[in-house]
């Protein structure tokens, strides 16, 4: 598969701060690729390095196989949708979108045709002569996307473009953006701190922390098989159980957590005796008869129950200081009550051994 964006050991320092620290990524053509992480993790700087707004302290940036490490933004086949949108207030919608085409001296008839087509694409047909301040937040958003897409970039860079919208509009725009990307087939690199957004929209996600990439994978794997403690807790919730490797069991590991021998799946063979953490998602913790069929199954006491609408959060004490959080559908709760005894369990593939 063709690689559109390639970062090789890219580092960017701002004074003493290593904002991006040895990041290597390969993003394929037509991919919806997200950079996900908390603020200050270097995701926006990584995006700006791809766009040419920052030049790396070391490392190489390639676009479609061409080394563009030292090229300014106007020499790169990328276009950016800025977090603050940065629409030009002195130009109307048409002229905002036509800006890039006019700079490249595209003939006027083509400019008009392409601008109208891309405005139709983002559902803004008929808004050509509107002024920027006459548009709603969602409409401004779409103008910003149209202004970038009309140039037919190899890669579209999006810096938290939905951050300023309210929740309902954000969800609608997420679906629209995903559909749009599918239609145009352009490679999207999308920066967000919203894990839900990244999981819903992305083909692949790179989770970043302190300027480094923690894990690159498809959303299912990021969620189902987090590589590190940070990934396990930043995306969704996880019970973290600390213990030692006791041995192997087929394709899994046996981990001793207190007196409990837990069967879990490990990425690579950790030697017996190594200290490891096992992550279990709260929704994977079963109770009652469902628990009895699981590879890991123990008696426990209900500490607390919190009704949250569709789900009920349940604190379960296994003894020896091991407490699990379970998230049960409200019809699974049955006759659970605080202080009552219950059987707790989870499947082997739902306990993931993290790399420290």
């Amino acid at each position: 598969m063709d690689v559109d964006v390639e970062l090789v050991e890219v580092t960017k320092c701002f004074g003493p701060v290593r904002a991006v620290d040895g990041v290597s990524l390969r993003i394929s053509r037509g991919e919806f690729f997200s950079l996900l992480g908390p603020s200050g993790c270097g995701k926006t700087t990584t995006l700006r390095l791809i766009g040419g707004f920052e030049l790396p302290t070391s490392g190489v940036v390639r676009l479609q196989g061409r080394d563009v490490t030292d090229q300014p933004p106007y020499r790169r086949a990328t276009n950016m949708v800025f977090q603050q949108l940065a629409l030009f207030p002195h130009l109307d919608v048409f002229e905002n979108v036509a800006f890039g085409l006019r700079l490249r001296r595209v003939p006027a008839a083509d400019v008009s045709r392409r601008v109208r087509r891309v405005l139709e694409l983002v559902d803004l047909g008929g808004y050509e002569r509107r002024l920027i301040h006459q548009l709603s937040g969602g409409q401004k958003q779409r103008v910003a996307i149209a202004r970038a897409l009309v140039n037919e970039p190899a890669v579209l860079l999006l810096d938290e473009p939905l951050g300023s919208l309210d929740l309902k509009l954000r969800l609608a725009m997420q679906a629209e953006l995903k559909a749009l990307q599918h239609r145009v087939g352009t490679t999207f690199v999308y920066v967000t701190h919203d894990q839900g957004e990244a999981l819903t929209m992305s083909d692949r996600i790179a989770v970043m922390r302190d300027g480094r990439v923690e894990q690159v994978a498809v959303p299912q794997e990021i969620y189902g098989r987090p590589r590190t403690r940070f990934v396990a807790t930043f995306i969704g919730e996880a019970n973290l159980l600390e213990g030692r490797v006791l041995g192997r069991n087929g394709d899994g590991l046996i981990v001793g957590i207190g007196p409990f021998q837990v069967r879990a799946q490990g990425r690579d063979a950790s030697p017996a005796g190594a200290a490891v953490t096992v992550a279990v998602r709260p929704e994977h913790v079963k109770v009652g008869t469902a628990a009895m069929a699981c590879a890991n199954c123990w008696p426990a006491v209900v500490r607390d129950l919190t009704f949250m609408g569709p789900v009920v959060r349940c604190l379960l004490a296994l003894g020896e200081g091991v407490v699990l959080t379970a998230e049960l559908h409200n019809d699974e709760v049955g006759d659970l009550r605080v202080g009552g005894a219950v059987t707790v369990g989870w499947a082997q593939q739902h306990g993931v051994v993290l790399q420290e």
Partner: protein, 302 residues
């Protein structure tokens, strides 16, 4: 006998609303009174004086003689021309010098450096115009520092005539009025984030194209108000043109001074009105220019 219990009379809604609406009038009253009494009344008296050249014959009579004299004599149109030429030149030069200065200052982020830049640029305002003009006379004179250095460097053999002519006036006026150009431009550039330029460059604009097509149009309101201030201050300036011109360059303000000295009040009044007309015309013209430029797109206030 029953005593009528006095009840609190509620303030009628309308009057309360009216009071709220006109409360701020009290705040403008002193300024308004001053403006009406001193400016508009004075202008009225001036108009009357331009039409009644009294003192001359004893009995005042209505005559357009002073106006006719001004309009009919090419010399006075020449003075108007010199005044407009001077103001245009000074406005243009302060713009050419002031815009880059404002642009550079907007890039300064270190507070100490910024304070230093402000001090350098704006401290001359604290010194009297008379003092600064005499300073320029000393610097630019035949034996002044500028001519001395140019001769020492071998650039010239004879001293350049830098005072008692238009050149001297322009140099001194540009220096004196520069802060009035920089300040409005600085205010507008400061509101402009770096992302506007980045967006333009992302869409294929070089640095120059980004400036030409985005930064400049968005800072134009600042440029226009700076130019308006500098232009009107220049056409009405007296001290600097008078001292630096050394009587050899006539502008409208020095013409008024001359006629006042000669107790030719009628003619001085006419000149004053021409000066006022000039300033008003320029303001209207530049406002039209701005609204024309922004007819299709207004500046968004975020």
């Amino acid at each position: 006998m029953t005593l009528a219990v006095p009840r609190a009379v509620p303030v009628p809604r309308l009057s309360r609303r009216l009071r709220a609406r006109y409360a701020h009038l009290g705040l403008v009253a002193p300024a308004l009174a001053l403006s009406v009494a001193v400016f508009w009344l004075a202008m009225l008296i001036l108009l009357v004086m331009s039409l009644y050249p009294f003192l001359a014959s004893g009995t005042p009579r209505l005559t357009l003689e002073a106006w006719r004299k001004f309009v009919g004599d090419g010399y006075y149109w020449g003075v108007v021309g010199t005044t407009v030429y001077l103001a245009t030149l000074v406005t243009g030069l302060t713009l050419v010098i002031g815009y880059p200065a404002a642009y550079a200052m907007s890039k300064i982020h270190r507070p100490a450096l910024l304070l230093g830049a402000y001090l350098i640029l704006f401290s001359p305002i604290l010194v009297s115009v008379v003092v600064r003009t005499y300073g320029w006379l000393l610097l630019l004179g035949r034996e002044g520092a500028v001519n001395y250095l140019l001769r020492a460097a071998g650039v010239i053999t004879e001293p350049l005539p830098l005072i008692f002519n238009l050149t001297g006036i322009v140099i001194a006026m540009v220096h004196i009025l520069l802060p009035f150009m920089v300040f409005p431009i600085l205010g507008v550039i400061g509101q402009l984030g770096p992302e506007m330029k980045e967006a333009a460059m992302d869409l294929g604009a070089t640095r120059w194209q980004a400036f030409r097509r985005v930064t400049l149009p968005l800072t134009l309101p600042g440029v226009v108000s700076g130019a308006q201030i500098v232009f009107t201050l220049t056409v009405s300036a007296f001290v600097t043109p008078f001292l630096m011109g050394g009587g050899k360059v006539q502008v409208l303000s020095s013409l008024i001074y001359r006629d006042m000295e000669a107790v030719n009040l009628g003619f001085a009044s006419v000149t004053a009105f021409v000066l006022l007309g000039l300033a008003v015309a320029i303001l209207l013209l530049s406002n039209r220019l701005v609204s024309h430029i922004y007819a299709r797109a207004e500046v968004e206030r975020v």
